[in-house]
């Protein structure tokens, strides 16, 4: 059993902050089937369409029958740890500074044998449950967990390298005025965040939930108007070096598309709040987070965006809003690439219409703000990158995979 991690001490200012290093990055195109699985928290292997054999590692033809029909499918996760190896002096810089590091060979019940990273509680000869995780270079790696969840499981040193667990981390939630923002703050505190900074724009305007937010222990309200470049830069000057997780809870939802809106001021507000706000945050907080990707127990770990699932397919009833979300989605991929050298994850949480005032006339199902908050914490703990919260988001995702043209027509009907 592993010991729980201790709250990190204050840094010794005489010591240099260690720079992040990356584990091996190169993967074949076929191997990105694992990347996709890891990003969504699924366990997928190639399975031969002709003979049903599961294959690993990724290849172009079935080992058993040479068929090229090797689609990635969800696979059974159980296996047995055949052998365990502890690397004491790895040649690789990234693992050398993390040594000792345990890896193992797992025989899957479904057939193949995997080389895998090991949770400390996995024992040779014992049963394990597998997952694919994104490592510090954003590539998929196999990870073996004990069959039953032991105490302090998420405190495992090797597991924590694969995740962005909020425990003992310092978080910035960018908008505390919204119900979603307030739920996210509460969920992160429950998940063990050591401090949650909460941005409040235009502090002269009262807002619902303000008293409760101010009364929460370990929560610090900070001035932050993400539409204002200087406001963002000023906050980063104060706390940029101690934001380990940034959750962008900006919420600017307005109904309407193009032809029935007069003028562009509403469109401009949407772009200012969503897209430019994102740009301001990234430019102000991104560089320090990238630099602090290996900064101990509370290293910079993740950037979370809450995006409408209509970023993926325009919903004309909220057409201009959908477009602003699409712009943010595109930007998130840029940010993901730019933060990768620091080992900092970018998590996109896609939701359908939320149960908030601006979707008042939209019929259910709607996503409760608390569900979004819980999904964020879960994503950080599991180390996934793309999350779909609620039935609408999942439905759009599946329909897009099946026929994007049908989705376009149906959303525009």
């Amino acid at each position: 059993m592993i010991e729980p991690i201790a709250k990190p001490r204050r840094k010794n200012p005489l010591q240099r902050t260690r720079l992040p290093t990356s584990p091996a990055r190169a993967r074949s195109r076929a191997s990105h089937g694992f990347t996709r699985a890891a990003a969504e928290g699924r366990f997928m292997l190639q399975r031969c369409g002709a003979c049903g054999t599961f294959c690993y590692p990724a290849r172009d033809a079935c080992l058993a029958c040479l068929s090229a029909e090797l689609a990635f499918t969800d696979a059974p996760r159980r296996g047995t740890l055949l052998s365990e190896t502890t690397l004491h002096v790895p040649a690789d810089v990234h693992f050398r500074e993390r040594a000792p590091w345990r890896i193992g060979l797992v025989a899957m019940e479904c057939g193949p044998t995997l080389v895998t990273h090991l949770h400390a509680d996995c024992e040779e000869g014992g049963p394990v449950v597998m997952s694919f995780q994104l490592d510090k270079s954003g590539q998929a790696v196999a990870f073996a967990h004990p069959e039953r969840e032991p105490p302090n499981m998420t405190d495992d040193r090797q597991w924590r390298e694969m995740t962005a667990d909020p425990k003992f981390r310092r978080v910035l939630v960018t908008n505390g005025r919204s119900i979603v923002g307030q739920e996210v703050v509460a969920a992160l505190k429950t998940a063990g965040a050591s401090i949650v900074f909460v941005g409040v724009a235009e502090p002269w305007k009262p807002f619902r939930g303000e008293d409760a937010l101010r009364a929460m222990a370990g929560v610090e309200i900070v001035p932050l108007d993400i539409g204002d470049e200087k406001s963002v830069a000023d906050l980063a000057a104060d706390i940029g070096g101690k934001v380990d997780i940034l959750v962008n809870t900006t919420e600017h939802v307005r109904a309407g598309g193009l032809l029935d809106r007069q003028g562009t001021s509403v469109v401009r507000d949407e772009i200012d709040q969503s897209y430019l706000g994102f740009v301001h945050l990234a430019q102000a907080f991104g560089p320090a987070m990238r630099m602090r990707g290996s900064d101990g127990v509370n290293s910079a770990a993740a950037w979370v965006n809450i995006l409408s699932v209509y970023a993926l397919a325009n919903w004309p009833v909220f057409g201009a809003y959908s477009a602003s979300q699409a712009a943010c989605l595109s930007l998130s991929h840029c940010l993901r690439a730019e933060l990768r050298p620091g080992g900092v994850k970018v998590v996109n949480v896609f939701t359908g219409p939320l149960d908030i005032e601006w979707f008042q006339t939209v019929p259910p199902p709607k996503v409760a703000p608390r569900a979004v908050a819980n999904a964020i914490v879960s994503a950080l703990r599991r180390g996934v990158e793309d999350v779909f919260v609620g039935d609408v988001a999942e439905d759009i995702r599946q329909r897009l995979a099946a026929n994007p043209k049908a989705v376009e027509r149906e959303l525009g009907a």
Partner: protein, 261 residues
Amino acid sequence: MDSNSLMQFAGAVASGAVRVVDLTFTLSPDFPVIVLPPEFGQAAPVRIQQISRYDANGPAWYWNNLTFGEHTGTHFDAPIHWFTGKDLPNNAVDTLPLRDMIAPACVIDCSAQAAKDADFLLTIPVVEGWEKSHGRIPERHWVLLRTDWSKKGWRDYANLKDDGAHTPGPDAAVMRWLVEERGVIGFGTETIGTDAGQAGHLDPPYPAHHFLHGGGRYGLQCLCNLDQLPPTGAVIVAAPLKIQNGSGSPLRVLALVPGQG
């Protein structure tokens, strides 16, 4: 007036015999702006976006791009701002008569009343009381309502409650009377608007806007330092930006007051 007097005036400004008081808040992103229900179009907030600051984007120079609504910060309202003034001649900031940009002011101190009642309304009897001490308000003068509201923190300054803003201002009768019976050139306040926070519930709604602009007069709001002005004798310099067909603009408002020396 001969050129001598004008030079004398310039000398008096230089010597401090005429003191210049700045009635303007710094135009900044933090300053509260008027809040309308979210379904209406909103005033763009003040944004200051750096182009360069002696850096790679401009090694020897510092400059910014600005965005803001016409009605942000200490600002001027032209008659075209309100429907009642929409058809008047020369009703926008680019066409209004230049001589109107320099005019004397009467300052009515209601700071004691406003301290007791955030919804204090200026009425005809209050102004008549002021006239007993300081004389009848002359034509083409500004009337400035001193409430000391500009000394509050931003939250108390905006004073937004769940039934709207609670800030002092004029009632409907006094606005009509100031325009029609006193011929004021305009009306100025320390609060976010020339009207009271609850003026939407007056008849007509927003009477300062209604009567001032309907009568071709002007508004000034978000003023400060009114406590440094004498009840009479100050001269206001208020020249809005020359924005094409503009309904108003942030501006520097200066008051010239008799000083020492």
